[in-house]
């Protein structure tokens, strides 16, 4: 029983990207195309405009990362954030808060901060996003270890296709902090986002066909040195797709969901009106 119904073609709008060396899609896409150099010195931390200045400083790293790229993706899509169901993916959640929680529990559990506790839930970032944008649509937060972006893409694509409604996808991870760094290998900050739509629009940058493939297929490798340097981050499985979106060529990508299953993505760029002018 290996018959799979053909899944519908879906459309990508508003790719967004943030890493310290590639702070924003404009610079990231140029570097991935070989048309630019990474930021030097690297950026410190994103500063999402969705949050009030005081909140922006206090926000956990994962919240700052997620809201930065989610905001950029929705702005580039020209859509209203309040209307978009959202899927947020992160392999580890906020490793800084995990380090704080476990360290405080080991030392004096009664000192645990209530704000740190409610920020420790994996869905803190998508919670702040829905609160900040007034979004009452479905929101999700998921983890799938080193396949967290691919799993988030599958979840978002399935939701978009099943309900025929555009969906926001964001993926983000941060470096391990404190003693956790002796076991959790994620380093650097990396965040990506895009909007997946069931229909083509003026803001469509690419269409894609998608399917599951069983067997140990090799993952599509990253091509640029700048992307290679970010493979230390737990969200690194997003890099080949964003490199391909930057290059703007028709490509077949294989994104592992596990050792024996992958998400196959046939990417077809759309002609951009700006590019023609």
């Amino acid at each position: 029983m290996t018959t799979t119904n053909k899944t519908p073609t879906l459309y990508i709008e508003g790719p967004a990207f943030w890493a310290a060396t590639l702070p924003g899609w404009e610079i990231a896409s140029a570097v991935f195309r070989g048309d630019g150099a990474p930021a030097d010195p690297p950026a410190k931390r994103p500063s999402p405009q969705l949050l009030a200045p005081a909140e922006r400083r206090r926000a956990p790293d994962t919240v700052a990362l997620a809201l930065e790229v989610a905001g950029a993706a929705v702005a580039a899509s020209g859509r209203n954030a309040a209307d978009l169901p959202c899927v947020f993916a992160s392999a580890h959640g906020d490793l800084g808060i995990n380090d704080y929680m476990c360290g405080t529990l080991a030392a004096d559990p009664l000192l645990l901060s209530p704000i740190k506790f409610h920020n420790s839930v994996h869905n803190a970032a998508v919670g702040y996003w829905t609160i900040g944008t007034g979004c009452m649509a479905a929101s999700n937060s998921l983890a799938a270890y080193e396949s967290s972006f691919a799993s988030g893409l599958l979840e978002a694509a399935a939701q978009c296709a099943a309900d025929q409604r555009a969906v926001l996808l964001a993926g983000y991870d941060m470096p391990a902090v404190g003693a956790l760094a002796s076991v959790t290998t994620s380093r650097e900050m990396l965040a990506v986002a895009l909007v997946i739509s069931p229909t083509r629009s003026a803001r469509t940058v690419a269409s894609f066909e998608w399917s599951l493939a069983a067997g140990a297929l090799p993952a599509t490798p990253v091509r640029s040195d700048a992307a290679r340097a970010l493979r230390v981050n737990a969200m690194a499985d997003a890099l080949p797709l964003f490199e391909a979106l930057a290059r703007g060529e028709s490509e077949s990508l294989s994104l592992p969901l596990s050792a024996t299953l992958s998400l196959q993505v046939q990417l077809q760029p759309e002609l951009q009106l700006e590019a023609l002018s």
Partner: protein, 389 residues
């Protein structure tokens, strides 16, 4: 979409029979907190026997309280055998695994922080796949021999309700033929001291919807269901997912996100509110949740609907609450048992006539289960009596 196998293990016991007996006899599984080195003065829903449980040799690297509870839960009600039969029927790559948890193995990470040597995890804690949220699903995937898509949903207390929605979409689109869904959460310092820091923990057994309720009782649980395409005696009829867009740890004052989830679930099921015979409410016994949810049920359902919270039986099992209460809803359809509220003596005057202290029996054609989480994350599920095959 049919539910061909399901099970739950909580403080009231291992498997469906123990759960159904406790519900029928209004027997709470809560006990005075005896968890950890310096237990807070509260009550908990603790699962017995996890300290002695040993995982089989080939799964031993996954050892931690949460994965032990997952393993205990998988053994009950012939669930592993049902999955093995499905695996034979469809092939391992055609079965998705979608599990919910709020804290996964964080209890083991907490333990590792008490064992640090030179600021690093000791050798036996050098297990990166255990100290991460996906630990639960990675473990269960190996334990069940599944090779389809797998993700861990972590939206706090709605986690293992939302797994039904994600699974339904994958099956509907033909990406898989079946899905194992569920959730597991275990007691740990993070949640006991965390909810305590928010002053949400009761010093007594929790009393959902009681006029004098004063907070939640935390619990731990594991639950699983096997979802397959087609008709069956028990079916998932609808689901609704919505966000409050209000506050990280307080529900929307008018329950707007919860009501959106309810509306979506009823619309997908094609049912009016009056068609629901039993509602398993989120009913945490926190002042605010019960006020908002009680008002929602009072304004949307006829007085004849039987509604209850089962948190007094199991405690609030957080990321496992969705699946445990889905299982209770399925048992209600299967057996006609509509549970009451335990520990509650005087219903809050703001509650409607729907909320019942005592259990009742009668035909349940359609059951609704509500799960609401931090971050304003809401999910409602509608299950129904389907056509026997």
């Amino acid at each position: 979409m049919k539910i061909s196998a399901f099970t739950a293990t909580s403080a009231v016991g291992v498997g469906k029979t123990a759960l159904a007996d406790a519900l029928a006899q209004s027997r709470s599984g809560l006990r005075a907190n005896d968890f950890g080195a310096s237990p807070l003065p509260t009550w908990i829903g603790r699962v017995d026997g996890l300290e002695e449980l040993r995982l089989p040799e080939e799964l031993a690297a996954w050892d931690c309280r949460n994965n032990r509870l997952a393993w205990l839960g998988l053994q009950a009600d012939g669930f592993m055998e049902a999955v093995a039969a499905a695996r034979k029927r469809y092939g391992p790559t055609r079965i998705a695994l979608i599990l919910g948890t709020s804290t996964s193995s964080i209890g083991e990470t907490e333990l590792a922080y008490t064992q640090l040597a030179d600021g690093a995890f000791p050798a036996d804690q050098q297990r990166p796949k255990v100290h991460t949220p996906h630990s639960l699903s990675l473990f269960v995937q190996q334990a069940l021999g599944l090779e389809g898509p797998s993700e861990t949903i972590s939206t706090a207390c709605s986690s293992s309700a939302k797994v039904f929605a994600s699974a339904e979409r994958l099956i509907r689109l033909g990406l898989v033929d079946a899905a194992v869904v569920g959730g597991v959460d275990t007691l740990c310092g993070s949640v006991l001291f965390g909810f305590n820091s928010l002053e949400l923990v009761s010093p007594e057994p929790c009393r959902p919807f009681d006029a004098a309720r004063n907070g939640i009782s935390l619990g731990e649980a594991a639950g699983f269901a096997l979802l397959e395409r087609g008709r069956g005696p028990l079916e998932l009829l609808g689901y609704g997912e919505a966000s409050d867009a209000h506050h990280m740890s307080t529900p929307h004052p008018e329950g707007l996100g919860a009501e959106k989830a309810l509306d979506d679930a009823l619309a997908r099921a094609g049912l009016a509110a009056a068609a629901i015979d039993y509602i398993n409410m989120h009913g945490t016994a926190s002042t605010k949740n019960d006020e908002v949810e009680g008002a929602l049920v009072a304004r949307r359902f006829p007085g004849t609907t039987h509604a209850s919270s089962t948190k007094g039986f199991t405690g609030h099992t957080l990321g496992a609450a969705g699946i445990v209460e889905a299982v209770i809803s399925l048992l209600a359809i299967e057996t006609g048992l509509k549970p009451g509220n335990v520990n509650t003596t005087t219903l809050d005057a703001e509650c409607g006539p729907q909320i019942k202290l005592r259990p009742a029996r009668g035909e349940v054609r359609h059951a609704l289960s509500n799960s609401f989480g931090f971050g304003g994350n809401n999910c409602s599920l509608v299950f129904g009596k389907g056509a026997a095959e």
